[in-house]
């Protein structure tokens, strides 16, 4: 089917639709321009224009299908070729569309394995607790002065700090 904003892809029965089919070539070009503008290559990190290709953008839109429509609106050709102008206009007039566009760029970029490796970010890992060990803060005596001060709660019976037992 097609609409005023461009062609929306058809899907065979039983196959999950590809969210990238909702973005025509002009929108994809606008997205890449915005991605490179927000996150350019610098300081040993790659540009989002290079990182957030089909795979990453598809991942974002599959995780967040609610972003498809606001992203389409944010990338419409009427907003021109200048990514900075596009972002300014959206932020001022269409904050929801602006937020969707920025999240799609950032979400695609920071779920990329190479980007995460460069940041030394392994993801949210499962770590084993060793709760039978005496905690470092006890070994270091960090609670000793807290205890030495005595109670700090206010005793309702007196209205003052509780007395030492």
């Amino acid at each position: 089917m097609s609409g005023p904003g461009g062609t929306v892809g058809r899907t065979a029965p039983g196959v999950a639709p590809d969210p990238l089919d909702t973005l025509d070539a002009a929108r994809r070009a606008a997205f890449t321009a915005v991605a490179g503008h927000l996150i350019p290559a610098a300081h040993g990190m790659p540009s989002a224009a290079d990182v957030v290709g089909d795979t990453r953008l598809r991942f974002v839109l599959r995780a967040r299908p609610d972003l498809v429509e606001p992203l389409r609106a944010a990338l419409r050709v009427e907003l021109g070729d200048d990514p900075a102008e596009r972002l300014l206009t959206l932020e001022r007039d269409e904050p929801d569309h602006h937020a969707a566009l920025v999240l799609a760029v950032v979400g695609g970029y920071y779920t990329d394995a190479d980007v995460r490796e460069r940041l030394n970010y392994p993801g949210q890992e499962a770590k084993t607790l060793y709760s039978w060990k005496v905690p470092d803060f006890i070994e270091e005596g960090l609670t000793d002065p807290v205890l030495a001060r005595g109670p700090i709660w206010r005793d309702p019976a007196t209205g003052r700090r509780a007395a030492r037992p």
Binding site: V106, L119, L129
Partner: protein, 537 residues
């Protein structure tokens, strides 16, 4: 569908629904619960998945208005400075809560007597302490006894404390230098295996569901046991109103299933456990000729005195990598240094501080708490500075009751079943603003002493209404309270409110442990007085 009335009908299967269901089922009551949400399988949680920071902003957002799921009800919060947060499911908002489990302090129950403002509770800390201890065991609380912020004696938390993490250790050292209080935070998150559940793996994603089942929620800790004892839990059941008879007793609830079909569940006793917004909404929906302003509302206080704990976040940035995306969320450490009233500060009451993890790279780029957006080449330096190198103090300030802060029924907005939605009116008081300003300054000092080179502040977080309290307050006088000291309606003797609606004042701590303890106390009393309980014929 049972033909006999339930002994007890509970509305809501969250924290308090689970606590009262288990206690009453153990005592042989025939328990039925109506829950508008559903069971969640732990495999649905996204914390271990690559899309975690994407889905936490929509499908696993803490605001029902952001999630916009069919089982949620919308809330008109146009006139509210804080957005209420909650989750509809078996286990309720515990699925998305942090797990911090501090108790209220003795002074919290005597605000009028001590500070000449608000009200006293009709019970004391000492009366509630045995119930805190029992719910600590039920939920599996990790922590360390001896905290001088509380009266000594009684049981310590049943499980050893969770790790402080590198950030927590830095801040604990700083407080030692400053001579300020700190203590390992008690959390309803397992530090060791307990009651058939696995310990925490420090993934730091507690607020989007705990994939390990280490964080307590009643779908794990209470409902399986209650169901094993015969309780019947109906999911996808949205209650539209409570019905009463000519004698002024509640007779049951009208509810709609997912297909929109209407049912009536009759009961001898009804317990509301739907949180301070859902419970107030349901009482206001349950009007009749004999109670045109809503059920149990002769005081006119149903829906009023809503308290939500204005919240500020103070984040410190450090030079070294603290791996601060990991750890319980939940808190690592807490401080009550400035909790008690000191009128020289220009406000009354205080705030508890809790130190929390800092999320992953998407949040470093698009902060949901304190921080800014940086684009262009400097973006990379900004993200490197924030990712894993932060420590966040969350400051919960006491929220004094104000009748103008209230829940009413929306004249226009409805849920997906066509039932009027709640409409919120909530303003942050001048006392709260002064309180937060003071605590922000002190929390900044704490982080700078710990070695932070920069402090970022979120002065008043909008999406921070985790703690919903006060809309059906407890008290001895029916003219000035909705429920009595045992959580029973003054007006309707077989109607109870077990959730945070009953709070008289808010305290300045995460309230779930107090809510659960109060619910258990109410359930105990119901068991003890069961033969005197007035019920419909």
């Amino acid at each position: 569908m049972a033909t006999e009335p339930a002994d007890v009908l509970i509305i809501g299967a969250g924290a308090t629904g689970g606590v009262v269901a288990l206690r009453l089922a153990e005592a042989g009551f025939r328990v039925v619960c109506l829950e508008q949400g559903d069971w969640h399988d732990r495999s649905e949680y996204r914390g271990a998945e690559l899309d975690w920071e994407l889905t936490m902003r929509k499908q696993w957002a803490t605001s029902p208005n952001v999630r916009d799921q069919p089982q949620d009800y919308p809330i008109d919060e146009t006139d509210g400075e804080i957005s209420p947060l909650m989750y509809s499911a078996v286990g309720g908002s515990m699925l998305i809560f942090a797990g911090a489990w501090p108790r209220m302090l003795p002074s919290d129950f005597r605000v009028r007597s001590l500070d000449g403002i608000a009200d006293d509770w009709p019970l004391t800390y000492e009366e509630l302490r045995p119930y805190y201890e029992r719910t600590d065991r039920q939920f599996g609380v990790s922590g360390m006894g001896g905290d001088p912020a509380y009266p000594q004696g009684g049981e310590d938390p049943p499980l050893p404390p969770l790790p402080l993490g590198a950030g927590g250790l830095k801040v604990a050292r700083a407080h030692t230098k400053l001579g300020w209080h700190w203590w390992p935070e008690p959390n309803s998150i397992l530090s060791v295996e307990y009651d058939g559940r696995h310990p925490c793996v420090q993934r730091g994603t507690c607020q989007q569901g705990c994939g390990e089942g280490a964080k307590a929620s009643t779908d794990l800790t209470h409902w399986p046991k209650a169901i094993g004892l015969g309780a019947r839990l109906v999911t996808g059941a949205r209650v539209r109103r409570l019905e009463t008879n000519d004698a002024g007793l509640v007779t049951g609830a009208i509810w709609r299933d997912r297909e929109g079909a209407e049912h009536f569940e009759s009961a001898r006793v009804v317990i509301l456990a739907a949180n301070a917004i859902g419970t107030a909404r349901l009482l206001l929906l349950s009007t009749s000729a004999s109670h045109p302003d809503g059920l149990a509302n002769s005081s006119g206080l149903v829906g009023k005195r809503l308290m939500m704990h204005p919240f500020a976040n103070v984040g410190g940035l450090f030079d070294e990598d603290l791996e601060s995306w990991q750890g319980q969320f939940g808190c690592s450490i807490e401080s009550f240094e400035f909790y008690e009233t000191d009128e020289r500060r220009g406000f009354v009451r205080g705030a508890k501080w809790g130190l929390a993890p800092t999320f992953g790279p998407i949040n470093a780029a698009l902060p949901s708490r304190a921080g800014s957006l940086v684009w262009g080449p400097e973006h990379h330096l900004h993200v490197r500075a924030h990712l894993g190198r932060g420590a966040n103090w969350g400051l919960f300030g006491e929220d004094l009751p104000d009748e103008a802060n209230q829940v009413v029924l929306s004249p226009t907005l409805t849920d997906s079943s066509g039932i009027p939605a709640p409409e919120l009116h909530y303003r942050v008081s001048e006392n709260s603003r002064r309180l937060l300003d003071f605590h922000i300054e002190k929390a900044s000092q704490s982080l700078l002493e710990a070695g932070a080179y920069k402090v970022e502040v979120d002065q008043l977080m909008r999406y921070s209404g985790w703690h919903l309290l006060g809309t059906a307050r407890m008290g001895d006088d029916p003219k000035t309270s909705v429920v009595d000291r045992w959580n029973r309606s003054h007006d309707v003797p077989n109607l109870y409110v077990a959730d945070g609606s009953c709070f008289v004042t808010s305290g300045g701590v995460n309230p779930t442990s107090s809510i659960a303890a109060l619910a258990l106390r109410a359930a105990d009393h119901m068991v003890e007085t069961r033969f005197n309980q007035q019920v419909p014929v």
